[in-house]
Amino acid sequence: MKDRYLPLVATVTVFVLVFAVGAVNFKHFLSTNVVGDLLTDNAFIIIAAIGETFVIISGGIDLSVGSMIGFVGVVMAHLDVMGWHPLASGAMLIAFGIAFGAFQGIVIDFCEIQPFIITLAGLFLLRGSCFLVSLESVPVKHPFVGDFADWHFDLGGGGRLSSSAMVMLVVLVAGILIAHFTRFGTNVYAIGGDPASAKLMGVPIRRTTVKIYALAGFYNALGGVVYALYTGSGYPLAGLGDELVAIAAVVLGGTLLTGGVGLVFGTLFGGLIQGLITTLVNFQGTLTSWWATIIVGVLLFVFIVAQRTIMTSFMTRRAI
């Protein structure tokens, strides 16, 4: 088996194991209901995490995820009051997300400032803009929100594949195609692996960097649109700290934060594992919600140390 699939196998194994723990302990855990809800409830964060995967594979990081989700929701709700159709405002905000991401990419490459700091400024800007638009939660009242929530595929056994989940799966496939079957995708891996040699081999660094962050902006804004439709409201504090959840999803999905190594598909499971742990804690009933964060932290630790060991053995083998 290729080394690059090893982390993915580990991630899927953990997912199956956690699911098995649930299935053994709780009567109704192994059902399409739980699977459907898992996909629906975590759709927005997985969408954002797909964008984050590209950024992290390229060796960067994007901290503006959560604020973008909040900002998109608040503006959508505001435009809804002014009579916009959610699809129109959503499309406009996705365009904004792409532009915002591209701007971050330009600054990162041209000004040679670390992505961490620029996207941190982006986090402040967008979260601050949320507060400028509204200080309260504003409902999105357009009938489309209800329709969006109603559309679904029956999975059989009472479970539903909601429209949020479908959007997520579509853009997941798109992400996989972009990462593995386009020149841009190859360039992303090349930059993440070693920017200097990528440059020497003729990878257009600036264009690729701008595209990476624009793509992340697209996924973040789309995540925000899905979140706004899913909750039927815009709230200025929505998505607070979700950049962490997204980064954790990417790491749990087997992508190395050093860049150059990772799979978009793994991020799906990285996001689902976190959702599954929350579901498990809810099913258990007596455990309180903060246990979920501790368990996710412990899992992160185990994964990171395991990755470290795999990488070290890989490096020594290559050195020989």
């Binding site: 200080l135 954790a248 309180t288 932290g297 412990v298």
Partner: protein, 345 residues
């Protein structure tokens, strides 16, 4: 130092604007001066300091007062960033330390033992980060992400999910009291700064930190124990976050694990970067970090005293930080200068 390899710049010591703007301290100090200048115009009473109830009082004092927890965290962060690291967990450590402190006070420990145990808890959190980074050789961002994610959970576990309040004259005095009209927390922060400066800049330790940050392997070959330096830096950061957590908790007289120290890591990192620290490691500036903290806090206070509604705080903060970062970018400055030169010639 920037122009050391340029003989002309060394030989002719006349005033040069280019040389001045090339100095590390120029942009952060200029930013702070600009903010204070705007304050002086917008709010005429900004610099007036008077004594109310035996305590210094005024907007300027307020900037220092509110800036202290952030300054403490930023000082630790500066040293960590100097080793080419980063500590994302400081906000979570503030929450943990607050929970530990509240818990100990409720168990009737004496104030001094609470003080030491609390700071010990902060240092322990830092030690854990240091262990991950130095011994397990995990990237700093990820290593400290673990505690950042799990830390608030741990704090909530200690607090059992509640906001626990306490009464302690000792800790209230440290946080909100005053000594000879000076707020005591400013004395705490100044003392910490002085201690760090003495330890790091009056000995070779600061140089060790910077050499480890510049090139860990090379530092190791020259006989510096790079692992130990890194562990020390993270432990120090945890300790500083511990002191900050103590002040924050003493201020609200309780432990609010969900909100204590929220976003503190971001402000601290910004302060270090505004103060000329580089995330690629190899240099740190304690004094300029404090300037960075004052820029951020000055901005917040300015908006509060200005006619702008408070919602503008974060946007203005974001914009100013962006501008400072862009100005610090040598490449952008040079291309702007190049643009002007082409036009005039």
């Amino acid at each position: 130092m920037v122009h050391a390899d340029n003989p002309r710049a060394v030989a002719v010591r006349r005033f040069s604007f280019g040389e001045l703007t090339g100095r590390t301290w120029f942009w952060p100090v200029a930013a702070l001066a600009l903010i204070f200048l705007v304050d002086a115009v917008v709010s005429p009473g900004f610099f007036s300091i008077r004594i109310v109830q035996g305590r210094l009082f005024g907007s300027l004092i307020d900037v220092f007062y509110r800036g202290t927890p952030g300054a403490l965290v930023a000082l630790g962060m500066a040293v960590v960033i100097g080793t080419k690291g980063i500590d994302l967990s400081v906000g979570a450590v503030v929450a943990i330390v607050g929970a530990v402190m509240t818990n100990l006070i409720h168990r009737d420990f004496s104030p001094v033992s609470v003080l030491f145990l609390t700071l010990g808890a902060g240092a322990l959190c830092g030690l854990w980060n240091g262990f991950l980074v130095a011994i397990l050789d995990i990237q700093p961002i990820i290593a400290t992400l673990i505690l950042m994610v799990a830390g608030r959970g741990i704090a909530l576990l200690i607090d059992e999910g509640l906001i626990v309040t306490f009464r302690s004259d000792f800790f209230s005095a440290i946080s909100t009291g005053q000594f000879l009209t000076v707020p005591s927390r400013i004395i705490v922060a100044a003392g910490t700064f002085l201690a760090l400066w003495l330890v790091l800049r009056r000995t070779a330790l600061g140089l060790f930190v910077e050499s480890v940050g510049a090139n860990s392997a090379a530092a190791n070959l020259t006989g510096i124990n790079a692992k130990l330096v890194k562990i020390g830096a993270y432990t120090l950061s945890g300790l500083c976050a511990g002191i900050a957590g103590m002040l924050i908790c003493g201020d609200i007289r309780g432990s609010d694990s969900n909100n204590a120290g929220l976003f503190m890591e971001l402000d601290a990192i910004l302060a270090v970067v505004i103060g000329g620290g580089s995330l690629v490691g190899g240099r740190f500036y304690l004094g300029l970090t404090i300037i960075g903290v004052l820029v951020i806090q000055g901005l917040t206070t300015s908006i509060l005293v200005s006619p702008l509604p408070f919602q503008f705080t974060m946007v203005v903060k974001g914009v100013v930080v962006l501008i400072v970062l862009l100005l610090q970018s040598r490449r952008l400055r040079e291309s702007i200068v190049g643009l002007f030169l082409r036009k005039t010639s």
